[in-house]
């Protein structure tokens, strides 16, 4: 049995965990639920030894675990992180072998070290090229690497931090199947998730954190989804959907777009689109089928290989782009909230004086954005890397929507966010569309596409398709 006993942790003035006690039984799938900032990742960090708690202890069997990730892993506690812990320049097999390397002086044979993991991958139906450089793979594939890396060891406790964020529905089903098998073999599976539907299907027990406190811990057979959702949000009403504005004239025309990917391959082929102001166009499909390249081309970040992209609205349209990974191309993590928002301010003449930014005007402006977008930060000078995932994403969204855009391109805008933050981001996207923005929403989450889009298509190997059938995935 893995026990968390009276664990507390503060970051500066923010109490991430206060006096949390929880037991995780062998042979159970235990879901840990909570909104962004509730303390889930911190709790998992404490268990995995990455985060040293201010008070309390973690006990496995009869032994107290040290705050040392290597020692904790040696005791059979494996963690799949929400943000990948993979070396981008290493091949897939090298990354997997990292998990089991011990004697440095011996000859390195990657084959045997990675066999178990690769077998695991193929039994899941996941085709991962062990020789591929990890950094060039789409995030969905990188997540699979991360998962098989952890599954390959002889873990007795497996922690998965929001593992389904970038997986397609049937990939999620596969993963859940694997987790069930592990549970039946006596492994303790700790699943951090924000989608209740996934947890409902698999978890034996659920614990809910809110504002760093344990709100409830219960058997799934004794509770309902509504009750869990209520514990998570603390009795707040979810915001209602905004009404769509009346569609205007066609403002964006894409004709026979071809876009080159990072490895020189043709990532998008023959893409056609006519988009009206106020319209939301969804692009679904599994990660790595040209979504990012398409988004970058539409946002004019990536040059076209061929084809035409015509804008017939205003002469200098305001193009807003919400990139898919807030931690790599969304935010400069070491810079302050204000500096990250400032990127949207530099185009605003009223905040400038010649080549200079007016410091006070920019500060007031960024404070008003923090307020308007309900970003929880101790001050606008706080480094954005210190915010919770949801608040980081709010900074990205606030920057994109600070000025009403004419065209908004968003890629997985709610990846890794909880219910409330997801609703919030969706509300803002609908609001932007209602005010007349043409929106292209690219998402691996089909529910999201259907909930927001007026019409949608799918991308499969760079081409648009009407529906996804087996071979396209």
């Amino acid at each position: 049995m893995l026990s968390v006993r009276s664990v507390s942790k503060s970051y500066g003035s923010v109490r991430a965990l206060s006096n949390v006690s929880l037991d995780f039984m062998p042979g159970e799938v235990h879901a840990v639920l909570g909104e962004n900032g509730a303390g889930k990742s911190t709790l998992m960090g404490v268990i995995a030894g990455f985060v040293r708690p201010d008070g309390g202890e973690i006990v496995l069997g009869d032994d107290r675990l040290p705050a040392d990730p290597v020692a904790v892993r040696r005791r059979g506690i494996e963690m799949v992180h929400q943000h990948f812990m993979l070396v981008p320049n290493f091949k897939v097999e090298e990354n997997i072998a990292l998990a089991s390397l011990s004697p440095l002086a011996r000859r390195l044979e990657l084959g045997p070290l990675t066999k178990q993991a690769m077998d695991m991958a193929s039994s899941l139906g996941w085709h991962i090229d062990p020789k591929a450089p990890t950094g060039t793979l789409p995030v969905g594939i990188q997540q699979r690497v991360e998962i098989v890396k952890a599954l390959a060891g002889s873990a007795t406790v497996l922690i998965l931090d929001e593992p389904t964020a970038v997986l397609a529905p049937d990939e999620v089903a596969d993963l859940m199947g694997v987790l069930r098998q592990l549970r039946d073999h006596g492994v303790t599976v700790i699943l951090i998730a924000h989608k209740l539907s996934e947890v409902m299907g698999i978890a034996d027990r659920a614990s809910v954190l809110r504002d760093g406190r344990l709100v409830a811990s219960t058997l799934m057979s004794e509770t309902t989804g509504e009750q869990l959702a209520g514990w998570m949000v603390g009795g707040r009403e979810p915001p209602s959907n905004l009404q769509l504005g009346e569609g205007g004239v066609v403002v964006l025309r894409a004709h026979q777009l071809e876009v080159t990917g990072d490895r020189g391959e043709v990532a998008v082929r023959g893409f056609e689109l006519e988009l009206k102001g106020g319209e939301i166009f969804g692009v679904g499909g599994v990660d790595g089928n040209g979504q990012v390249e398409l988004a970058e081309a539409l946002a004019r970040v990536r040059p076209l290989r061929s084809g035409r992209l015509e804008w017939s609205g205003r002469k200098h349209p305001v193009v807003a782009y919400i990139p898919q990974d807030r931690q790599t191309d969304g935010l400069a993590l070491k810079m302050s909230v204000e500096d990250n928002l400032k990127l949207a301010a530099i185009a605003d003449a009223s905040l400038r004086f010649g080549p200079f930014l007016r410091p006070k005007a920019v500060r007031d402006w960024s404070r008003s954005l923090v307020e308007r977008f309900e970003i929880k930060a101790t001050s606008t000078r706080q480094a954005v890397g210190g915010l919770s995932g949801g608040n980081q994403q709010k900074v990205v969204v606030a920057r994109a929507l600070a000025r009403q855009p004419d065209l908004l391109v968003a890629v997985n805008p709610t990846r890794g966010l909880d219910l409330k933050a997801t609703d919030y981001v969706h509300g803002r996207i609908l609001e932007a569309a209602a005010k007349g923005a043409a929106v292209v929403l690219i998402s691996t989450d089909q529910d999201e596409i259907e909930a927001l889009s007026d019409r949608w298509t799918f991308l499969s190997r760079g081409r648009t398709v009407d529906r996804l059938v087996g071979a396209d995935i």
């Binding site: 303390g39 911190t42 960090g45 985060v51 193009v319 191309d329 993590l333 200079f356 930014l357």
Partner: protein
């Protein structure tokens, strides 16, 4: 905190070298601050360090690891001497402005070449700037034996400028010249640029995360080129100021490693313009004081180099320790 650390480094080094720390320290302090001669020496030594250090700061902040301060400083000196040679019958203020502008252009041209190599050709500027240092030193050697050699063609030196054309001195018994104020003014300007201007903000952003710049359609390559241009211009200005303020001529030994020393100066200053003012004065004082120490002890000037090195290593280790954070950010 840093000041205490730096003092401790000084004392330990003196002890290791078998010098009575009390006597050694007092000699250094006497040599650096003891009288107006010492003070003038400190400021004059700090001036090229400050200008080149600011140049390094601008380039490094944008993610361009310019190691070519030395070459850019020398290029500034050469370009200044070329301008000086082609102009003569001018009022000093116009002459000096022209020389300083010329030296900035010289340093800028060299840095821009390295920047272009990285941005357009994928050659890391860490490598190219190091190598260009040697090219420029060879060019200097050729210049002072060829086109720029003094009129008698005897020594590998350029013609000495007449005192009337040199930068103003306020006390003719010391080297303290108007260039010191130029450097301090540039430090203020650099701080204003980095803190308040749109360009300075974008420069820092590109250095922190070029992918964010890309996703926001900010031309990272152009910004990095601008940073290299400014960096080279400031290093070149360092060369021009020394040429007009101290040497009045250029020769093989024109630079005393100012451009190389500027790297630890910039790092010790935390890549912050005011920090660089402090660290350049610290290094300037060490050099001035080391000259005092050298008069009483044969190891004096070597000792100063050791102290500089230990200070930089200690600083780097210290800032690494400070940066240690928990590996998992809270959720």
């Amino acid at each position: 905190m840093t000041a205490v650390g730096l003092l401790a480094v000084l004392v330990i080094t003196l002890v290791v070298f078998g010098i009575d720390p009390q006597r050694g320290l007092s000699l250094i302090i006497e040599g650096a601050f003891g009288n107006r001669f010492g003070l003038a020496r400190t400021f004059v030594r700090a001036t090229p360090l400050l200008l080149c250090g600011l140049g390094m700061t601008l380039a490094w902040k944008s993610g361009m690891y310019n190691i070519g301060g030395e070459g850019q400083y020398v290029a500034g000196g050469i370009a200044g001497a070329v301008v000086a040679r082609s102009l003569s019958a001018l009022v000093p203020s116009v002459f000096q402005t022209a020389v300083l502008v010329g030296s900035m252009a010289g340093g800028m041209a060299l840095a821009l070449f390295a920047g272009w190599l990285q941005v357009k050709r994928g050659v890391q500027c860490v490598i190219s700037t190091i190598l260009l240092n040697f090219v420029v030193l060879q060019a200097l050697a050729w210049c002072v034996r060829g086109p720029l050699q003094e009129s008698k063609h005897e020594l590998p030196l350029s013609d000495k400028l007449p005192d009337t054309l040199m930068l103003a001195r306020f006390d003719h018994q010391t080297d303290f010249h108007a260039g010191v104020f130029v450097a301090l003014g540039v430090a203020l300007g650099t701080w204003v640029y980095l803190t308040f201007s749109r360009g300075g903000f974008l420069l820092k952003l590109v250095g922190e995360n070029p992918l964010v710049a890309r996703a926001n359609r900010i031309p990272a390559a152009r910004i990095q080129m601008t940073a290299m241009a400014l960096s080279g211009a400031l290093c070149g200005l360092g060369g021009g100021v020394d040429y007009l303020g101290i040497t009045g001529q250029i020769g093989d030994g024109f630079s005393q490693n100012w451009g190389f020393l500027a790297i630890p100066v910039a790092l010790l200053g935390g890549l912050n313009p005011f920090g660089v003012v402090g660290s350049s004065l610290y290094f300037g004082a060490l050099m001035a004081g080391g000259e005092g120490l050298a008069r009483f002890n044969t190891t004096g000037s070597t000792l100063v180099s050791v102290i500089q090195a230990v200070a930089v290593l200690g600083f780097v280790a210290f800032s690494q320790l400070r940066m240690r954070r928990p590996a998992v950010p809270h959720d």
